[in-house]
Subunit: 247 residues, 2 copies
Amino acid sequence: MPPTTAAPATSAPRTARERVREEMTAEILAVAGEHVARDGAAALSLRSIARDLGMAPSALYRYFDGRDALLSALILGAYEALATEAEQAAEQAEEGARRDAGGDAERWLAVPRALRTWALAHPHQWGLIFGTPVPGYQAPEGTVEPYARVAVALVRPLVGAHAAGRLRGDDPPHQVSDALRAAVEPVSAGLLPGMPVEKVVLVLQAWTTIVGAISLEVFGHWRNTVWEPELLFEAAMAQVAEAIGLR
Amino acid sequence: MPPTTAAPATSAPRTARERVREEMTAEILAVAGEHVARDGAAALSLRSIARDLGMAPSALYRYFDGRDALLSALILGAYEALATEAEQAAEQAEEGARRDAGGDAERWLAVPRALRTWALAHPHQWGLIFGTPVPGYQAPEGTVEPYARVAVALVRPLVGAHAAGRLRGDDPPHQVSDALRAAVEPVSAGLLPGMPVEKVVLVLQAWTTIVGAISLEVFGHWRNTVWEPELLFEAAMAQVAEAIGLR
DNA sequence: TATTAAATGTGAACAGTGTTCTTGTCAAGT
DNA sequence: ACTTGACAAGAACACTGTTCACATTTAATA
């Protein structure tokens, strides 16, 4: 029988069997993760994983439905790692806010910086998320939650500043068409309630710039073009913060 | 013996053999391109290509050193298609300029729009360029030239406006550190000579936004977030044009 | 023009891959 | 104690990229 639905993460494993199964699953994911980190997703091989674990390739099918399922789990793991990273950075920035250290613009920089640092440290995992969608593919259901966590973390300094009335308004205010307002509605409603639409649009644009900058750097597209992508990244983030009205 | 260096593209094929070889090479590239367009690069299979062409898999090695070499050729083709697209768009925009139709901002939009349209029509080829670098990988030497052509095309409306003195200056002018100025020097010198550094930085940021926006859309990362990415793209490009000082 | 030499295509073979199925073994629940 | 289920192994199948020895056809040369 194919792998049962993963053991409920809520309750601790009761039987010894469940415990060893959980350990085994974790171990498989660990070496699979190492392989991806070293050679990239395209080179991921069930047989080589099995070799590293000293077991038969077919045994892996007790834990994962196949290569694609394993890859999906790794993708999900990458999303969660990214989300954790973003949340930690936001947390630290918020702590700084409580100590009244630095301005809103400085706090805004924390999450983008953390994302970039993480991406540079784990380029292949960044690729799992923002690279070419794999053929076995499709966004696993579970990725939307950590992806949303990243968004929330990114936006936290902003809502803080907005709530405190420290957000500079546009002058003159940008016009946003009704169509664009509608297109952006999910974000307006779900992520940034009460925020002016121009700001929401700018935040989405900021996200675009962040992902674009990191991907261009991680995937090696700045060659012979820009010598220190970090400086460009910082400048871009500062410009975006300025446009949004943080200071 | 491995494939000889490709027949000199400068002179027409003299012998019948050279002609049929050229046709064969083109045909292989054509069906390989179809396969990539349909199933993506990861699924590219020499044997299936050989089947489609009714020949033995080993015969392909007379034309390409192997799968990676074939993929490299396809990547190069994608770069060139992208460059052609960008240049056509720039050309049309320039024609509009001669007829004095629309402002600089409108002209600026032409190339980004063309890139996005092309990417949406050829998502897998976009992935070949801006997606996860393939394992067989490394940027083929020949890609830097078409990549530069894209950059030149993108920037053409800008240098036109600048030369005509229609480029609004920053007020107040953004400060650019010496380090950033140095990091950006290749672009300043090679692509935008005579352009103020702040502008150069903004152009690089614009490029970041363009690639980021298109990749996010093509790779399907706007799900449940933005309903009409096109509107967001337009807004982002308009904002960038405004920041650069086009009008 | 006859004869070399090179270029091209074939088919078999090797090593690697994901996946399935049958078989055996061991722990858990009745 | 016994039965059921999970687990692991190994063989097998259908693929993949790649190499090689071998024909065959074409071009260049003596």
